[in-house]
């Protein structure tokens, strides 16, 4: 087979626009409008690849993207279906899964060793001696897989597009086109998805293009949005239809879904049914009528209905010598074709392509040999119910269709055309029109006269067509009979698996991998079900298909990923930090400076002069209302009723089990107004937590998360007051701005709320101000601090500084079970106040006493125990390190660790271990630096 047939109207190729593709280093001619598969067929290429397991030669079979036979590496991308991939000038095309070449694949020898690869062979062979599998497995893994994944990231990220419509029609065959045209014309916003690059479905290959052309024109004129080359691969809750096409992923949300997914023609099972030259009639008609390639000169068509006769006429009219083998005993000669009635194909022969078939009565041992180079399997179809089934549609067996069809649909879901059992063109179109009108009416778009039309259409839609006659499940001849072309699973293997007890479709699938390959059951489910039924001694009707799951068509991972988006939070001072050479780190969603100079230098500056850190990331809430105090009293174990305006109190929020959720500062800024800060990473969760309780308690309070509204700087160090004096006219003496106070005054000309608190253990000011002044205030602080040797400091220095003070980090030093008594915050629990979250649990905990305690420890600085290192006693794990850093102030490693409660005594010796390293450490209950807090209060 090679060359092109004479031009005809309606052909897909544009002979005036020739182009060339690079096929394995050779130039292959093509025309605009060709697919890679059609161009290669025209160039005489019959072997399009090698099979997955046995490396058998395979050729074009379906031309619709429904089988694994034509997967190729195209422009570096593996597993592209060449039969549907449009040609582009200069594209690089290579066949895959062969060495050194597809034409001479040395791995083809595996076909002779198939007895060593029965179903589940990886559980059966190479198990003795015990080391054998470990040697063989890597070889099998290397051998498995198709194509080569490109190592370079040279592709544009894929777009993810969200579409919304009243009606989404999935499938652009005649029924789908009719549905879309009606729905859109009625005024419903309508999207139609068609996986091929042209609409028309099965009619695309037809010599007579009238219905298709008319319906395409009607759908286009209706205003429906038609997305060609867009394959739906899954239906999810919503409903959301996920599809690939248009260069990426499409997510379609529609109020009504119309499934017009058609049916997939199925191969018959007989020996060597996988030889190149064994094709489905859809492929033959497309090649001849659309691409003008004659796939064989001498053809045998196996059929039981008009599809086969149409294919036979197409071939005959194109110049081929044709025999029709009709399964029906009563079939007679039609249209001058040579017909062999009551027969089937018993086997095919050939090595690199089919050369003959044996034809005889079903079940007979021998038959008549007919030389041929093309076998056409026509009219055995399986309705494409997978996507429909993902909506929750119920399927039932239909005797006439010899298939599982939808019998119960969810509301707002419609099924039309072949997927709903229509076997005539007019019936399918009527179903489509009816569904389009019904869907439009359901969304309030019912055109005048619709009711009458729907009545007529209902009658037409009931037309189903002739009952289906399927070929025998299996034939009697010699040779492998493939049920699953993707995974090279034969009828014999399915039978063996069923004999081993894997006798339902779900079990067979998992054990033999049938239907788990690239076609996802499109080209094998019918055969597999029937063979399963036969092997299990049940009927086809009793053998349900496997559960439909996405993806129904292959999807590139890149399409699912889309453009890489990592939402990140940055403070309004971020750019200035970058200018200062900050090294950034992730802190939750935030990008924060880890350090500017070295953490050691930054610690030294804070302890001896002054430093400033950007703490804008702190969560901040405005709490206001007549019952604001009541809200806080219930959320915290602390007391807030007695907190004076202008004062700050440290508090920890607990959950109802008494576990610490968060800690931070609560500032009273008015009689009924508070400014609350919480840990950076907990803000969103606490917002939800507070909102939830507020709704439950129905208190007269408003809470607003104002995190981003305020930038915040912590100016800390013995010289911080001097720097503040430069920045403001306000009195910042220790009398005017007392420790644990909140004062409002301008800093650098910007109205600010200044909190005298000190996480790092030095005299310090936490300055909160409107965030868009961030750069201005930061610059002003650096300018004012320059004479005092100010340095910016990052998170690492802050961690050292806080650890020297034994200030805990919730989430780092605490876990999902830590209560205030265990971490030394029992002082804040006011048991004498009315109810608060966690109270009941705390009463129990207080009575039982803590089992563990979070304590400080010091150890020799020669080894820094990592976070998570074990605390052991006589080789037994008894606790863990949560934080540890080298401290210049303490001249040792300082850290926090969980230990048995009885060990919470100063100078208790503990042993810390990690990997092979270990160190002796001593418990220290007081802060390692300024234990009395004199510097903080100064």
């Amino acid at each position: 087979m090679s060359g092109r047939l004479p031009a005809r109207p309606g052909e897909a190729i544009d002979r005036g626009r020739p182009l060339t593709i690079d096929f394995e280093g050779r130039r292959a001619p093509a025309f605009e409008g060709d697919t890679v598969g059609s161009a290669l067929a025209a160039a005489g290429v019959t072997i399009t690849g090698r099979s997955f397991k046995y490396h058998r030669p395979r050729g074009l079979m379906c031309m619709t993207g429904a089988c694994p036979n034509c997967l190729m590496q195209i422009d570096g991308i593996p597993n592209v279906r060449s039969c549907t991939e449009p040609v582009r000038e200069g594209m690089r095309v290579e066949r895959q899964n062969a060495w050194p070449s597809v034409d001479r694949d040395v791995h083809g020898v595996l076909d002779s060793f198939s007895f060593m690869m029965p179903p589940g062979f990886y559980y059966k062979v190479f198990q003795r001696p015990r080391w054998a599998w470990s040697k063989v497995e890597p070889i099998i893994r290397k051998q498995a897989g198709l194509g080569k994944v490109p190592r370079t990231e040279d592709h544009e990220p894929r777009e993810v597009v969200n579409l919304h419509a009243d009606v989404a029609v999935i499938g652009g065959g005649l029924a789908g086109l009719a549905a879309a045209a009606e729905a859109a014309a009625a005024g419903a916003s309508t999207v139609l998805l068609e996986q091929r690059r042209e609409a028309g479905g099965r009619a695309l290959g037809s010599a007579d293009d009238v219905d298709r052309a008319r319906l395409v024109a009607e759908a286009e004129a209706s205003g429906a949005r038609i997305l060609l080359g867009t394959a739906a691969f899954g239906v999810f809750d919503g409903p959301v239809v996920a599809a690939v096409g248009g260069g990426g992923l499409q997510r379609i949300r529609a109020r009504h879904l119309v499934f017009a997914t058609g049916a997939v023609e199925q191969p018959a099972v007989f020996p060597n049914n996988d030889l190149p030259g064994v094709m489905l009639s859809s492929a033959v008609e497309l090649l001849v009528n659309r691409f003008r390639v004659l796939p064989g000169r001498r053809a045998v068509v196996l059929t039981s209905n008009q599809d086969g006769y149409r294919a036979a006429r197409t071939l005959r009219d194109a110049g081929a010598d044709v025999f029709v083998v009709d399964l029906r005993a009563g079939a007679g000669s039609a249209d001058g074709l040579r017909v062999i009635p009551g027969s089937t194909i018993l086997s095919a022969k050939g090595r690199r392509g089919v050369t003959a078939v044996s034809v005889g009565a079903p079940g007979s041992a021998t038959g008549q040999s007919i030389p041929c180079d093309l076998v056409v399997l026509a009219g055995f179809s399986a309705p494409s119910t997978n996507l429909l089934a993902m909506t929750g549609a119920k399927l039932g067996f239909d005797d006439d269709a010899q298939a599982f069809l939808p019998v119960e649909l969810p509301p707002d879901v419609h099924a039309v055309g072949a997927v709903a059992g229509a076997r005539t063109v007019q019936g399918a179109i009527a179903q489509g029109r009816l569904a389009g009108l019904e869907a439009a009416a359901a969304v309030g778009q019912e055109p005048p006269g619709a009711a009458g039309r729907m009545e007529v259409l209902r009658a037409q839609a009931a037309e189903r067509g002739d009952p289906v006659v399927l070929p025998p499940e299996v034939a009697t001849g010699e040779g492998k009979q493939f049920a699953c072309l993707c995974m090279d699973v034969t009828s014999k293997e399915l039978k063996a698996a069923a004999a081993e007890g894997f006798d339902s479709m779900e079990l067979l699938k998992r054990y033999t991998t049938v239907s788990m390959g690239p076609c996802q059951g499109k080209a094998c489910m019918l055969s597999a079900q029937r063979l399963c039924a036969r092997a299990a001694g049940s009927s086809f009707a009793e053998t349900r298909p496997t559960t439909a799951r996405p993806p129904w068509t292959p999807v590139e991972l890149g399409a699912l990923a889309g453009w890489r988006r990592t939402p990140r939070k940055e403070t309004t001072i971020h750019d200035l930090h970058a200018d200062s050479g900050a090294t950034f780190m992730w802190a939750g969603d935030w990008r924060r400076p880890h350090h500017f100079a070295t953490p050691e230098q930054e610690v030294e500056a804070v302890r001896h002069r002054v430093g400033v850190i950007d703490v804008s990331t702190l969560g901040k809430f405005r709490v206001k209302g007549p019952e604001a105090v009541e809200l806080l009293e219930r959320l915290y174990p602390n007391r807030f009723g007695d907190l004076a305006v202008g004062r700050v109190r440290y508090g920890a929020m607990l959950n109802d089990e008494g576990v610490i959720l968060d800690d931070g500062a609560v500032c009273r800024v008015g009689d009924d107004e508070f400014f609350v800060t919480v840990t950076t990473g907990n803000t969103a969760a606490l917002e939800r937590w507070i909102t939830w309780w507020l709704a439950d308690w129905r208190l007269d309070v408003r809470v607003l998360n104002v995190t981003g509204a305020f930038a915040a700087l912590n100016l800390a160090g013995p010289d911080s007051r001097k720097v503040m004096s430069v920045l403001t006219d306000a009195d910042v003496s220790s009398e005017a701005v007392k420790y644990m106070s909140a004062s409002s005054f301008e800093v650098a000309g910007v109205p600010s709320l200044v909190l005298r608190i000190g996480f790092v253990g030095e005299l310090g000011y936490e300055i909160h101000f409107p965030s868009m002044y961030g750069e201005h205030v930061w610059r002003a602080v650096m300018e004012a601090g320059r004479p005092f040797g100010i340095v910016p400091f990052g998170l690492e220095a802050q961690r050292v500084l806080r650890l020297e003070k034994q200030h805990i980090l919730v989430g780092q030093d605490t876990d999902a079970e830590s209560d205030p008594f265990e971490v030394g915050l029992g002082w804040m629990v006011k048991a004498d106040k009315p109810d608060f979250l966690g109270r009941r649990a705390l009463e129990d905990l207080a009575e039982a006493g803590p089992k563990e305690r979070l304590v400080g420890f010091t150890c020799d600085p020669s080894w820094l125990p990592p976070e998570g290192a074990s605390v052991v006693h006589e080789g037994v794990w008894v606790g863990r390190v949560t934080s540890a850093r080298r401290s210049a102030a303490a001249r040792s490693v300082v850290g926090l660790a969980w230990v048995p409660a009885g060990w919470a005594e100063d100078d208790t010796e503990i042993e810390i271990q990690f990997g092979g390293a270990h160190a002796k450490a001593k418990v220290a209950l007081k802060p390692f630096y300024d234990p009395e807090g004199a510097r903080l209060r100064s």
Binding site: E159, V160, V161, N162, L163, H164, S189, R251, R253, W563, R565, T566, P567, R568, K569, E570, T571, T572, H574, D575, W590, S616, T617, R622, K624, G625, P626, D700, R702, L704, V706, T707, G708, A709, F710, A748, G749, V750, P770, S771, M772, Y773, G774, E775, H776, R779, A780, E783
Partner: protein, 209 residues
């Protein structure tokens, strides 16, 4: 000491695209990107994005009656639901609106100046819907001109306000900390559709305020 100016977190990104800065009500505003006419053409024919962070913004929550909204005066009101509204003003207009709203709000309502809480992006042009299709799973057709809702844009939460000024406009207000990420994400989509950034001058010339 340097005069206190307010700067959008997006300012540096705008500057790298050639933004020309003007000062208005204490804000640095990206006035144009070198070619106002071209920016107007994008707004009219394709799609463009502008940094409208300097807008004044007042958050009203609690029991909001019509009286508070009337007292707030001539502002763009994004009414999210009964208990929450966002009032949008020209740059610098927030103080006066806050005073009025605060005075009119009863004890069961709270007015807060959230000008600095949100960064604002105005997406405008005939390809607005195409841009949104790439940025959000929310259905833009559900939002009538003049109304507001909450949805995500580029995977971050936003307050969305739909406007009708002859060209379709959607103002998206995202948390300030996400401003730069959101700008990069939205501008990336806008560029892939053939659009680009637009300054305040072009936006105002098209009737936006």
């Amino acid at each position: 000491m340097i005069a206190a100016t307010r700067r959008s977190p997006i300012a540096r990104l705008s500057a790298s695209l050639g933004a020309s800065v003007e000062t208005e009500a204490g804000w640095e505003i990206a006035a144009h990107y070198g070619d106002e006419a071209a920016e107007r053409a994008l707004l009219r024919d394709l799609v463009a994005v502008a940094d409208v962070t300097p807008r004044g913004k007042i958050d009203l929550r609690g029991e909001i009656d019509g009286g508070v909204l009337t007292a707030a005066g001539e502002v763009l009101t994004a009414r999210m639901w009964d208990g929450w509204a966002l009032l949008l003003t020209e740059p610098g207009g927030e103080e006066a609106v806050l005073d009025r709203a605060d005075a009119a709000a009863g004890p069961r309502a709270m007015a807060t100046d959230v000008t600095h809480l949100f960064a604002g992006l105005a997406l405008a042009g005939p390809k607005l819907e195409d841009a949104l299709a790439r940025l959000t799973s929310w259905d833009p057709s559900t939002l009538a001109p003049g109304s507001a809702t909450g949805a995500s844009i580029g995977d971050v939460r936003a307050v969305l306000v739909r406007r009708d000024i002859g060209i379709p406009v959607l103002e998206a207000y995202v948390a300030t900390e996400f401003a730069r990420y959101a700008w990069e994400t939205v501008l990336g989509v806008v560029r892939r559709l053939g659009g680009g950034p637009a300054g305040w001058r072009a936006l105002r010339a098209e009737g936006w305020s």
